[in-house]
Every structure is written in C-alpha cells, then in structure tokens.
C-alpha cells in the first residue's frame, strides 16, 4: 500500500514536470507579448517595450525562463518557509497572491453548485433508474440532455434577464395574477400526475392535490405580499417537520421501525419548540455559532434516537439525526426570511436583491443574516446555471450504474430471501451504485479548481478561469502556470484518493504494491 502510494506520487511528480514544461513553452510561444506596443504610436513606445521585456524577462529564451520559474516554484515545496515564488503577472502582481484571490472566488462560485449538482443528480439518477422507461424517466432524461446541450453563456444570460432583472421588477409589487397561479398549479399538477406512477386514480389524486396546494399557496403569497415579508412560522415548520420525519424514516429504516419514527417525530416537535426558544440567540448569530448549532442539532437528534432505542438503535439515531438537521435547516431558513425585509430595504440593495454580477454588494453592512442573504442572492444565479449544465452527467451516470446493480444476482438473492424493497434499494443497491461515482466526483474536483471560465466571465467573477484566460491573452506564462499547477496537483491527488477510496469501498479491488 505505502509503496503503491509512493510510486504513484513519484510518477505524478514526473508527469507534472513534463507537463509544466510543455504548458510553459506553449504559452510562451502562443504569441507576441509586445504585439500591442509594436503597433503603438506613443512617443515612448520603445521605453514601454523595454519595460515590459524586462518585467517578463523576454530576453531569456522561453526554455531557460522555464527553469528560472521552476527554481522559484520549487521553493513552494518547502513548507512554511514563505519563499514560494511563482513569478509576477504582467501587472506586477505576485502570482501566489493572485492565485489566493482567484481560488477563493472560484471556490465560492463552484463549491455549492457542484455539491448540489451531485446531490440532485444522484437522487434523480436513482429515481429514474427505479422507474426505468416511465414518463418520469423520459422527462428527466429529456430535461437533463436539454440543459446539458444548452450553451452556458446563453443559459446564464437568460437567468440574469428573468431570474434577476425580471424577478426584481416583480418584487416591487409582488402580486401574482390569479391566472398565473392557476396556470402554475395546473402545470405542476400535470407534471406530478405524469411523474407519480401507479394507477390512473393514484396519479389523478396526487396531481389534483399538488394543483390545489400550489394554487392555494400562490394565491396566499400574492394576497399577503409574502415575497415582501416572507416567513415560515412554527406552523409550517411543524407540518413540514412531521413530513420530513416520515420521509426520512421511510428511507432510513422503514416506517415499520416504530422507535425510529417516534424519535424522528420527537425531534420534529423539539424543532418547533426550539423555534420559540432560540430566536434571541439567533439574533446574535455568527458563522461559527450557526456551525456549532448545526452540530448540536444533529447531536440532539442522535441523542433522542439513542434514548428511544428500539431493536435497531443505529437506525433510530440516524433517522432522528437527519430529521434534526433538516428541521434545524427550516428554523434557519425561517430566520433568513425574517431578515429579508431588512436586506430588501437596505439602501445599498435598493429593493433589487437578486444580483447579476460579483460575489457581494459592496459596502453592505448588517448582521450575519443580512450578509449571508447577500451572498446567496449573488450566488444563486451562477449556481443554478452550473447545476443545470452539470446535472446531466451525474444523473446519467448514477442511473446506468444503478440499473446495472439492480440486475445483479445478489439483488435477486436479496429479493428472494424476502427483504423489503426499501432495504434492497437503500441497503444493497444504492451503496454499491455509488462506488463508480467516486471516480467522476474526484475528476470534477480537479475541474472545480480549474474554474468555470464562461460562467465566471458572464457573472464577472475573477476566479481561476479568468486568471488563466488573462494570462493567455497577455502571453504571460506565469498566471497560466499558477493555475496549471493548482489544477494539476489537485487532479492528481484526487485521482490517487479515488483509487485508494475504490479499494476501501469495494472489497473486490485490492491494491497490490
């Protein structure tokens, strides 16, 4: 095992060396960094050309310049020495500093989107695999491929037009006309009726219920100007909490495990109680406090599950823990909604909350809730855009992997010995279906660091993709190499991790040194 890792790392280092040499030469020879100045009619043209040549060290041939760069980059291997030198960009900024800024911007932009895309993609993949060739399956496949094939700059521009500008205009007077409410209700009702599966009667009932619910909610929202002053309140939290308790229990242990269900319900009740208790505390919230509260919430849930016990204590703890987390999320969501009017009416926001550019409203001041809402309103559109285009690969991947597993002999055996469908899917199939995803997720993390060039440019986020592109346009190898190093190292490390994870996840795979 150890020798395997060492061997892999050594190969990785060699690959990195060769690839970096190639990338450096390619970038350096991709054009003429003095091109714009050569055509200049500035009286000090020569002086400017000399200055740039000196800054980029153009008198040294590119292969030699690479080794100079390598000399500086090698110092990055010395930990904590602070001697890391990746050169300077054409504006004289040290690359290490530029990378620091760009990484933060890229990660804020892509992390949420990737995590959500993975979660939603896997869920859709599993569901469509279980309902293979159903209307739902075709519908999801159609949508996934539709979004997959849309150019992201176009999706992003449309999102900005309707999701930001249109929605902000709507918020000025958030009244939904009745036909719109009815129409939305009908559309969603039909979608649910088609997707629900089962007999006609069951489909009609679910479609009808959804139609009535959606229309009622929208009329209610419109009548109370809910979007101006949103909130859930304990009633909705309570109802949703009970629903979640049932849903989570169904998935984790099955409703037959009464103790687990009771634990989840208790936790949901506790959540509603906590809504009343915790408000003064939430008024002082900080990021750390929310994090600690989240952990505490899960621990309380697990604790309740432990006390309830039952024939499978683990299942109770899991169900209650997950329910606690979700209900806690609702309480937090409600608190965000309470802060919404303050954010909305803030003079910096000017009543147009959804942003089209950047990562935050400049100079916005406010408490944790207002600032976090600000981050959300800036991230929501790029996140949606990225999710839409990357959903397809996860959905399809999970679907095919799940289908393959569902046709395995051991699944048939499990069914034959009388296991419930839930434990066949959740216990036997689902986990194994996730193993191949380790590869794709590991790859995506490399891509994640590389940034989303187009999305970044449409939403004016100056992240890794921008840095890379900027380096290429200025024929400036240093930023390009900085981005390349980060991406390459992450990709290699995560590939290694994926391989190791494989052997940990799948007992059939053994790493032989």
């Amino acid at each position: 095992m150890l020798s395997y890792v060492v061997r892999r790392l050594a190969t990785a280092a060699l690959i990195l060396l060769g690839a970096s040499f190639l990338v450096y030469l390619l970038t350096a020879s991709s054009g003429d960094p003095l091109a714009d100045l050569r055509a200049s009619n500035a009286p000090n043209r020569q002086q400017l050309m000399d200055a740039r040549s000196q800054l980029l060290d153009l008198d040294t041939p590119a292969p030699l310049r690479y080794f100079k760069w390598l000399g500086g980059a090698a110092q990055c291997l010395v930990p904590f020495a602070g001697t890391c030198d990746l050169g300077k960009s054409v504006t004289g900024q040290p690359i290490t500093e530029a990378l620091g800024i760009a990484l933060v911007q890229t990660l804020t932009l892509v992390t949420g989107a990737t995590v959500l895309a993975i979660l939603i993609g896997i869920t859709l993949g599993i569901v469509t695999a279980l309902r293979q060739y159903s209307a739902l399956d075709y519908g999801v496949t159609f949508m996934a491929f539709l979004f997959f094939s849309l150019p992201i700059f176009w999706v992003a521009v449309l999102l900005k037009e309707f999701g930001a500008i249109g929605f902000n205009n709507f918020l000025r007077n958030p009244v939904i006309p009745l036909p719109v409410s009815l129409g939305t209700g009908i559309v969603l009702g039909v979608v649910v009726a088609v997707a629900a599966g089962g007999e006609i009667k069951r489909r009609l009932i679910s479609g009808g219920v959804v139609f009535a619910l959606v229309t009622a909610v929208m009329v209610y929202f419109s009548a109370t100007l809910w979007f101006k002053n949103p909130g859930l309140g304990p009633v909705v939290i309570g109802i949703a909490g009970v629903g979640m308790a049932f849903a989570v229990t169904t998935l984790v242990s099955g409703l037959k495990n009464r103790k687990a269900l009771q634990a989840s319900l208790i936790v949901a009740g506790l959540g509603v109680v906590s809504w009343f208790v915790i408000q003064p505390l939430l008024a002082q919230a900080t990021g750390l406090m929310i994090f600690l509260l989240a952990i505490a919430t899960v621990l309380v849930g697990v604790g309740v599950g432990y006390l309830m016990g039952g024939y499978d204590r683990g299942q109770s703890m899991r169900a209650a823990g997950i329910t606690a987390f979700l209900v806690g999320g609702l309480v937090a969501l409600d608190r965000f909604m309470q802060a919404w009017p303050t954010y909305f009416n803030n003079s910096r926001v000017r009543g147009r909350p959804i942003a089209t550019i950047g990562a935050g409203t400049p100079n916005l001041q406010g408490d944790y809730w207002v600032l976090t809402i600000d981050t959300f309103t800036h991230l929501i559109l790029p996140t949606v855009a990225l999710i839409l285009v990357s959903l397809a690969s996860y959905t399809r991947f999970t679907r095919s992997s799940m289908l393959e597993i569902m046709n395995m002999d051991y699944i048939r055996t499990a069914r034959a010995k009388g296991l419930s469908e839930r434990s066949v899917i959740m216990g036997h199939a689902f986990r194994n279906a996730l193993i191949p995803l380790a590869t794709i997720v590991a790859f995506d993390i490399g891509a994640l660091i590389g940034g989303a060039v187009i999305t970044e440019s449409v939403f004016s986020v100056h992240g890794m993709g921008f840095l890379f592109l900027d380096g290429i346009t200025h024929i400036d190898p240093n930023p390009v190499m900085g981005v390349f190093l980060c991406v390459a190292v992450t990709a290699m490390v995560f590939n290694l991790i994926a391989d190791l994870a494989y052997s940990a996840l799948d007992p059939r795979v053994r790493i032989k040194a």
């Binding site: 002053n229 954010y343 550019i357």
Partner: protein, 592 residues
C-alpha cells in the same frame, strides 16, 4: 396504529405548539435586529478591468482603471475637458511661463492643498513627480545592457529630460523647471491627475525607502548627478530603493493596511477595495482646491464583458457603464428604459498606410490607390451600425473633437478622396497593374471588412491585391519590415499635445513604418516640437497635415466609436474621447 406514551406526549406537545403558533403567525415572530446600512448619493460605475495599483504612472500600473481611480483621487494644476482643452485649476496652484528662451516654468502649489493625512503638498512632491517622469537619473543603455533605469514610468520622459535639476522655491511649495530647449508640450510636462501627475506623496516614499522625511528625499535627489548612458555609474542604492518603492510599492489589488499607501489629494479617497470585484471612493473631506464633487460615494464594479455591463445597468447594480463598443451593445442599451446612451468617438482611429517603396514608390500609384479606397462604404459597413452619424476621418493629425480639425480638413487635400474615383485612378495608372500586398490583423473583423472593401474597389482600377492578413499575435511584428505594400491598422491620437506627431510622421520616427520622408513636413515638425504657443502649434500642425496629404501618404479611415450609457437617475455624465473617459468630470456626477 399504536403509539407509546412518549409519542402521545409528543403529539400533545405538537398540537399545543401548533395552537400557540397559529395565533402567533409570522407577524408575531421576534423582530429581527439586523443592522441597516446608511448612505447618501452613491453612484455605481462599471470598469472593464480590475484595479491593481495606487500609482497609475508606472509601467505595470498604467491600466485604464488605475488611471481613473488616480484621476478621482488626485488633483493637479490642470485637467483636460471633453473638448480636449486644457483647463487650469488655479485653486490647486498655478504654473507660469517665466521665459521663453530658455523655456522656464514655475509651478506653485497653493497653501492648504493637502494630502489626506494632513501633509501640505510640497515642492518635494513636485520634485518626486519630476524625478520619476524625467529619466534624469537613468544611465541605462539598452543595447549594451549597462547602467540603471531607476523609475519605471509609463510617461514619456523626453520632455522633462530636457530640464536641469529644478530650483526649489523658498516657500517649499514651488519648483522652477528650466528647459535646455523649448518643449512644445511643456504644459503637460507634469501630467495630469492619474496620469503621471502629482499622485505620489514624497514623504511616504521617503519613509518607506528608509529616509527620514521628505527633506531627506529632496537632499538625495540633489546629491545625485544626471545619469549618462554613455558613462554608466554604479547603482546608487538609496536612489534605487526610492525608485523601486515608487515603481512597485503602490501596487495592490486590495486596500493596504497602511493608509499612507493610498493618500489622496483630490476630490475622492479610496475607502475600500474588494480584489477584482469592487472599489469604493468617498469624498475627501478636506478637499476644496478644485471643482466640488456632488456624489458622496462612488462604487466601481469590475465587469469584464459588455453584455454583463448592460444587464448590470438594467438591474440597477451600476449607474454608468462603458462597455466595448459593438452593434449588439448599442442595440441592447437602446432597448433599456430609463437609460441614456452616450455615443462618441474614441481617440483611436483606423488608417490605411502606403509604403513609400516597392510598387508604391511612384506617387501616382499611391494617389491612384487612394482614389479607389471606398471610405464611405467602409464607414457604412463597419461603423454606421454602431454610430449612424459616423463619417470618414479626414485628417492625419486632428480628430473632429479638436477645434483645429475643421480648418485643417478644408485645405489639407482630403476633399479629393471623399468618393471613389476609379476612372481617375485608371488614368493615373496608365495601364499598369501593380500587385499590392495589404497586411492587416485578420483576427479583427473590422480590419477584414475594410480590407475586403478596399480589395473589391481597387481591383476595379486594375490593382492586383494580395491578401497579406496575419493573425493577431503576428501582424504587428511585421510593421515596417517591408514585407507588405500597404497596411490597415489603428493609432491613438494623443488628443492634447503634439509630441505624438513626429513619432509617426517624421523621417525615421519611432512609429513611421511606411518610410515617409517629407523634407517640408520634417522642417515643420522640427519647429513644432519647440513651439510652446497653442495657436502657433495648431497652425503648424495644419500645415503638416496638408504636407502629409500632398505626398499621398495613405488615408485615415474612421475613428473608433465609443459607447457609454448611464441611468437617467444620474446627471452630469458626458462623452469624452481620451483615456480618462467619463471620469473627466467625476465631480459633476450627481444623483437626481
């Protein structure tokens, strides 16, 4: 369904809470204590590039956005208005020409003009501006690779380099520059705010370079002799330290923790910078030595792509945008409600140059070729879709924004080339069919269009046109190497000042790529660069313009269109062709 006792208790509890909360609803929820932000008169401006340096006068710091921020945070003896006139700012100080021969100029800063840390703007600051913009101490020789370049400035040093070490006034607020020969652009010698002006506080540079105070810096400057590239001296370590700090010490993408690094002596001061995202300017509260700003705060947002700028304007995130001009952008802006579109012209212009060699050695051939260039069609095809009122540019030296343009075009001979005249061209060619290779940047669609139209028209007169278009990375390296006969590319008119003229048109000028050598024009240019009177300069330039046209130099084609837009909740924004852009009257911006 049988629930245990606990579940029953939970049920009761849940029902109780629901009952309680039903009365409470959301209106009864604890009122949030979120803190609000306060403001008054904020204006948002979009910039294409990210801010990177508080010294926009350095070779790496002279980007457009740095210049704009420098302009808003500094003052000078003058600024340039949207008609490209020099406007004196006597509240800051005054400059006066003491004598014409030798040219002697005295600069005096008014008392009470202060950096934002309270230090008076003094002779030391003027001296630092002079030292950084004069290359006085440099003794580097690019060919032999000897000597040192101290200050890495973006400014043209040829003017201030003519001066001796300045004389410092007794009030310590004035310096006197004595030129060894007259210098035409003497008024612009100390630049303007954000452009090689009095932007960098000497006392800060002195401190950061390990000197005691500004006086120590002045003493250092006094003690070092003028550099001589022919006889380079060892590096002066202390001066090098000063120059290095000046060149790179103010580079920062974020707000430095040391406020000395972003001192202001102008209407605004930087309050906050979020790297690559935004920069906030607030009023400089002491400022009363220039036009008074209206807005309390200006927020600069970095938005690279043009459609993103338009959408941000539509969504109210910015109030003023300056996107790259294109027909799409103009259409998008026109479709917006409550937005004013400002169409103007940039100082950059496209032109066709003919080499004075090869097939074009014969003046008649050049004239014939010029007669075939469909300038109106080119403007129609390339520019009209952006700016419907665009017309071809008719002067080699002036742009319409300059007062002298109208007079110059009347007599410079451009009227001959208003319309295509194939018959006359054929006459001049007298049956010859010269092969002409035209070089241009084929990655620039405008140049490709211009080339196609010229080829089509010139072929009719009997020219054989060879497409010499090259990729964007290659074409400029071929300028002046004789591998082509004609070329289409862009230049930037300096707008104010005349030293740019000989750079292009003088025999052997640094950007004279086509080998123009006109003794008449050379003589006039020799006179021009030592003429210090504006009216006389215009007169000379008018003559030079005509002299160049008379040699059948080639043709100016069109000025690049400039597109800006602003929300109609803002007033005071006007079009401005030079690099300062809309920022030139930042003090007039106001929220209605």
């Amino acid at each position: 369904m049988r629930f245990g006792r606990i579940s029953q208790a939970v049920g009761v509890l849940a029902i109780a809470t629901l009952a309680l909360s039903a009365c409470a609803g959301n209106t009864g929820s604890p009122s949030p204590t979120s803190g609000g932000a306060q403001e008054g008169g904020t204006i948002g401006v979009a910039e294409t590039n990210g801010f990177s340096s508080f010294n926009s006068g350095t070779a790496d710091g002279n980007s457009d956005v740095n210049g704009h921020i420098g302009y808003a945070t500094h003052s000078n003896f003058l600024y340039i208005d949207d008609k490209l006139n020099i406007v004196k700012n006597e509240k800051f100080g005054k400059y006066e020409k003491l004598s014409d021969d030798p040219l002697t100029v005295k600069y005096t800063v008014n008392e009470g003009v202060k950096w934002s840390d309270g230090t008076q703007v003094s002779a030391a600051d003027l001296l630092l501006t002079w030292a950084s913009g004069s290359a006085y101490y440099d003794d580097s020789n690019a060919e032999k690779k000897t000597g040192t370049t101290y200050f890495l400035t973006a400014a043209d040093t040829s003017g201030l380099n003519l001066t001796d070490f300045p004389e410092i006034g007794e009030d310590n607020r004035s310096i006197t520059l004595k030129y060894s020969k007259p210098f035409a652009d003497w008024e612009l010698a100390l630049g303007f705010a954000g452009n090689g002006g009095i932007d960098i506080p000497a006392h800060v540079v002195a401190q950061k370079a390990g000197l005691k105070d500004a006086q120590a810096l002045v003493d250092l400057f006094k003690s070092v002799k003028r550099g001589d590239p022919a006889a380079p001296k060892p590096v002066n370590a202390q001066l090098k330290k000063v120059a290095d700090f000046w060149s790179t010490g103010f580079d920062s993408k974020t707000l430095p923790s040391d406020p000395n690094l972003f001192l202001s002596n102008g209407p605004y001061i930087v309050k906050d910078v979020v790297a690559e995202q935004s920069l906030t300017l607030v009023r400089n509260k002491d400022y009363n030595w220039g036009p008074t700003p209206h807005a309390d705060e200006i927020v600069v947002r970095t938005i690279g792509s043009a459609p993103a700028q338009v959408q941000a304007l539509k969504n109210g995130e910015v109030d003023i945008i300056n996107p790259q001009a294109s027909a799409d952008t103009v259409e998008q802006i026109k479709a917006l409600d409550g937005v004013q579109l400002l169409q103007g012209k940039q100082l950059s212009y496209d032109h066709l140059d003919l080499n004075y060699s090869g097939p074009f050695a014969d003046k008649d051939v050049r004239t014939a070729f010029m007669l075939t260039v469909p300038r109106k069609d080119i403007v129609d095809k390339i520019i009209k879709k952006i700016d419907p009122e665009a017309t071809p540019l008719d002067s080699q030296i002036f742009v319409p924004a300059q007062a002298a343009y109208a007079d110059s075009v009347k007599n410079n001979g451009s009227s001959e080339y208003q319309d295509v005249n194939v018959d006359k061209a054929k006459q001049l060619l007298a049956g010859k069919t010269p092969t002409i290779r035209i070089m241009y940047n084929k990655d620039n669609p405008n140049r490709v269009d211009a080339f196609s139209l010229i080829r089509e028209s010139a072929t009719k007169a009997g020219f054989k046109i060879v497409d010499g278009g090259l990729g964007k990375a290659d074409w400029s390296a071929h300028l002046g190497d004789g591998s082509y006969d004609a070329t289409i590319f862009g230049w930037i008119n300096s707008g104010v000042g005349v030293t740019g003229t000989p750079q292009i048109f003088k025999t052997g000028g640094g950007s004279n790529f086509n080998g123009l050598s006109s003794p008449d024009a050379d003589k006039l240019m020799d006179e021009l660069i030592i003429t210090t009177d504006k009216a006389k300069q215009d007169e000379l330039q008018t003559k030079i313009d005509a002299a160049i046209w008379s040699t059948s130099y080639g043709l100016p084609l069109f000025q690049s269109p400039d597109v800006k837009a602003y929300s109609d909740q803002i007033s005071g924004v006007t079009a401005m062709p030079n690099q300062t852009g809309v920022w030139w009257n930042v003090w007039d911006w106001a929220r209605k």
